[in-house]
Symmetry: C2
Subunit: 208 residues, 2 copies
DNA sequence: TGAGTAGATGACTGGTGGGTCAGTTATTTT
DNA sequence: AAAATAACTGACCCACCAGTCATCTACTCA
């Protein structure tokens, strides 16, 4: 019964955390927090269950790490957009279409968004982190651009924040739709088309 | 130790199911499916855990009953709207504002919506039921009204279904917002104001 | 009023899965 | 080459809770 050649495992402490996070994201996204089995995460990450505990304290800790990990690229995007000096219409056009084509369509993102929504009662810190690092800065940025455009007379009067919700709403709906209704046979939404048509409609409707 | 006066329990088979459903809705909405404790449901319904099993087969069965129960009034509403012969603009105006003031604001509804989203992987039947009895008829009705308005030249060209998503999006966002971000300190959305401003914007943007 | 019965109780159980740790194996150091 | 080290394994433990059932109690009706 002596195993020939291939070693039973390798020591790769540098790569393990990222691999475990990737596997955990998959399993959490598929099953939700409670139904996710650590045994399954370990299997997909190619390690034993015990190894998970070398890198993460508890299941909840692993979950938090998954969500935090998924946030970072989005923060970069928002920061970049906020720093670039741009005028309202083109910024919103480019921003929303990019959001539609790159973010909303990415199952890893919509999966995490769904997780945050689903587990917000049992893990309110995650909803809080998500809110203050992604949602509020994003909405804040849009509101500011809209308010500036109003001063220049390019946009009619109205609450800038509500305009921002009006623009973002269908993107949120799309993520919910993809995660909730498409798996049970709902006709998929063409998110990019939706974003474009919605932009045409709302931008026209926002003119004075 | 003989209890004087008040009996230990009463036999009220007629009222129990509704009371259990109400209690279960509360607990499921607060905790989600897995974290919800049947002991807690029983306590709030004023019965013992065993009594639950006189009326519902399993926890999942109880959960399904809660969701089905919450759907029915909405089906009635949609049916009524579909049967009333109405023209596009006033119908959408009245419909969306009613939705905002009565449905989106009702925590019992937003709670169940959140549950359906959260548990759609482990209970896809619920997502399916919700989709075919509420979502699809609702979207279908709106799309039809929009398509008819396009024929009459009241609305510019564009995919009627995407217009419908554009109108509904912010309502979905509002429910998610209330259930997910408000509990962690997010500034509440005035849903009726949002609905009104969004209607003004989108209806103007939909004109030819 | 008392026998019959359906409604209701609550202590109990069994499966499940998060978390532990004594021991094993790959790798580094001496 | 041997010792030292740290990554990793996997069998085990035990808390937890959905679901059960022997028993009891309220109500009915003859």
């Amino acid at each position: 019964m002596l195993p020939a050649g291939e070693p039973k495992f390798r020591r790769r402490p540098g790569d393990r955390p990222a691999e475990i996070l990737a596997a955990a994201l998959e399993v959490f996204a598929e099953r939700g927090f409670h139904s996710a089995r650590l045994e399954e995460v370990a299997k997909r990450a190619g390690v034993s269950k015990g190894a998970l505990y070398l890198y993460f304290e508890t299941k909840a800790d692993l979950f938090r790490a998954v969500v935090r990990d998924a946030i970072s690229p989005n923060i970069e995007r928002i920061k970049a957009m906020a720093e670039a000096q741009v005028s309202f219409e083109p910024a919103v056009r480019i921003g929303l279409v990019m959001l539609a084509s790159r973010v909303v369509t990415d199952r890893r993102v919509s999966g995490v968004v769904k997780l945050v929504i689903a587990e917000s009662r049992t893990h309110p810190e995650l909803a809080a982190i998500w809110h203050e690092t992604v949602v509020e800065p994003g909405i804040g940025l849009m509101s500011r651009l809209i308010a500036e455009a109003q001063v220049r007379g390019e946009v009619r009067e109205g609450d800038p924040r509500l305009f921002a919700f009006g623009l973002m709403g269908p993107m949120v709906l799309s993520m919910v739709w993809r995660e909730t209704f498409e798996p049970v046979g709902a006709q998929p939404i063409d998110v990019v088309k939706l974003a474009e048509q919605h932009l045409d409609t709302v931008l026209q409707g926002m003119r004075p």
